[in-house]
């Protein structure tokens, strides 16, 4: 409704552009930037006030620090925030990738089994539901004790964070498969293995993608928390380290970087989903 009224308003206001698609998109994007821009300006002015010095860095300072963190040459090794951005992003992304892959490899088959087989549901669902209320952050000490201060401690936490979301949504998807589709497939001679692979899995795919998107969001939370404690690299480690040495500009640049990574990885999943679930996209139109 909102987009509709904007789209209608566009041709009237943006007179010369005449309401072309590109103009409308640009206008909509522009509208979304108004409030954030105002906040940034207010922040910049407030941050420059004499009384505020040194408490919160201004947007300009954050942008400078971020730029140096990304592009400056690493230098003599005294300042750890010169040119190390990419490697820290890579560390975090690698851990998310590994933990999330593990969560998918275990979560999707397990969710299908729980959703499809009564035996699997009765055996495994109470355990999954029983463990799920334990917040992943509560697993942190145990994870470090188990895996030590190295990658696996972090990856385990990321795995756990993604795993529950994927299992729960996959289970729901497998349970909601249209009974007539199952009947049609068995009528055509599908064995139970073929039923699972050719009917239940594709029918559950929309729910699985929902689980992947939620799970990936939690995975980014998990990587930051675990890197603060369990390892010595990555965006989470830098975040805590910069806080300790009083580099609030880096803390803020780091926060924006984390948000950016989460956004980009979510868009990546949506991009894959659009290609895998063409039938579903058509259904919704």
């Amino acid at each position: 409704m909102n987009t509709n009224s904007q789209a209608q308003a566009a041709p009237a206001r943006a007179a010369p552009a005449g309401g072309s698609g590109a103009a409308r998109t640009a206008r909509r994007a522009g509208l979304g930037l108004v409030v954030p821009a105002l906040i940034l300006i207010a922040w910049q002015i407030a941050g420059q006030a004499p009384g505020m010095a040194g408490i919160v860095p201004t947007p300009v300072r954050v942008a400078q620090a971020w730029y140096d963190w990304i592009f400056a040459s690493p230098g003599m090794g005294l300042n750890p925030y010169l040119g190390t951005w990419l490697s820290n992003v890579q560390y975090s992304a690698m851990r998310v990738g590994q933990g999330f892959l593990l969560a998918m490899l275990l979560g999707i088959p397990l969710g299908l089994a729980i959703g499809w087989s009564r035996l699997a549901s009765e055996m495994l669902d109470p355990m999954v539901q029983g463990l799920r209320p334990i917040p992943i952050t509560a697993w942190l000490p145990f994870s470090i004790a188990l895996f030590g201060i190295r990658d696996m401690g972090s990856i385990f936490l990321i795995f756990l964070g993604g795993f529950y979301a994927i299992v729960v949504n996959t289970t729901q998807g497998a349970r909601d498969v249209d009974r007539n589709l199952v009947r049609a497939a068995t009528m055509m001679g599908a064995s139970s293995g073929q039923l699972l692979r050719r009917v239940v899995l594709p029918a559950a795919m929309p729910s699985i993608f929902t689980g992947l998107r939620i799970g990936l969001g939690i995975a980014w939370t998990a990587v930051i928390v675990s890197e603060m404690v369990a390892v010595k690299s990555g965006l989470g480690y830098v975040l805590w380290d910069a806080y300790y040495v009083g580099r609030m500009d880096i803390v803020l640049a780091d926060m924006v970087s984390i948000g950016l990574m989460g956004f980009v990885s979510d868009r990546l999943i949506v991009w894959i989903e659009r290609r895998v679930l063409v039938w579903r996209m058509l259904q919704n139109h």
Partner: protein, 249 residues
């Protein structure tokens, strides 16, 4: 030669208030016979079809198709569902060849047959379409082409045209008549539409509700091949009056 033998078949759904869906049904269908199960909703006609298909199991009685007791669904008993029940992620061609494919047949074994069935159901121009891109009538054509490609000995049709508009329904009835005329498979066709039952079937079983019973069995004395014209004929109207009387009773 008899193809389907149903004897003293009952189906009760247990629960706090048990539902007696079918009560001691006796039914015999000859090979190549077109049978219609006609009755109001709740008379158990779809339950009876589901039992013959093997989707559900009877509470009492026996059920044989082609001399074998029915234990589970299988490609020898092709089912056409009311809402087509096509796999929405497969295109028309993939839906039609799903059966032979899961049976592990090589493409050469089923390709020509599938093409023929797509041809006679008028789908040749739509093989790459997804079900969601088709109208209800077209989807039901795919549902029919799919069971014809299975080469089922028995076709079980559960109000396949019930959800279609009147115009499309007539087209589909004509299509089914012409397909059946050339293939002559055994058909059990569930419907609540008297015209449809008379137009299509050799034998009509009129069912009554709560509990589901067979009220009467009528033979349709209209020669084949049939066309839609006979809907206005004398014999047709006489038979329709008779069935209306039975159903009001």
């Amino acid at each position: 030669m008899t193809d389907i033998v149903v004897s003293q078949l009952s189906k009760t759904y247990p629960g706090a208030a048990p539902v007696h869906a079918l009560d001691r049904i006796d039914l015999t269908v000859q090979a190549g016979e077109f049978v219609a199960l006609l009755g109001p909703s709740g008379c158990g006609k779809s339950t009876l079809l589901n039992l013959i298909a093997g989707f559900e199991s009877p509470s009492e009685g026996a059920l044989h198709v082609g001399g074998q007791p029915v234990a589970r669904p299988g490609p020898e008993r092709g089912v056409v569902f009311q809402e087509a029940a096509l796999l929405p992620w497969l295109n028309v061609w993939e839906n039609v060849v799903f059966g032979p494919k899961v049976a592990g047949q090589p493409r050469s074994a089923y390709e020509q047959r599938a093409r023929d069935m797509i041809e006679i159901t008028g789908l040749s121009a739509f093989t790459k379409h997804l079900p969601v891109q088709l109208s209800g009538g077209m989807r039901q054509r795919v549902g029919i082409a799919r069971v014809l490609t299975l080469q089922s000995k028995v076709l079980l049709m559960d109000e396949p045209f019930g959800a279609l508009d009147a115009q499309t329904r007539l087209t589909m009835q004509e299509l089914l008549l012409s397909v059946w005329q050339s293939l002559r498979t055994t058909v059990v066709f569930v419907t609540h539409d008297i015209d449809e039952a008379i137009l299509l079937a050799d034998t009509i079983y009129v069912m009554s509700a709560r509990p589901g019973r067979i009220a009467s069995r009528l033979t349709v004395p209209i020669e084949r091949p049939r066309s839609l014209d006979l809907i206005t004929g004398e014999v047709f109207n006489g038979l329709k009056r008779e069935i209306l009387g039975l159903m009001r009773h």
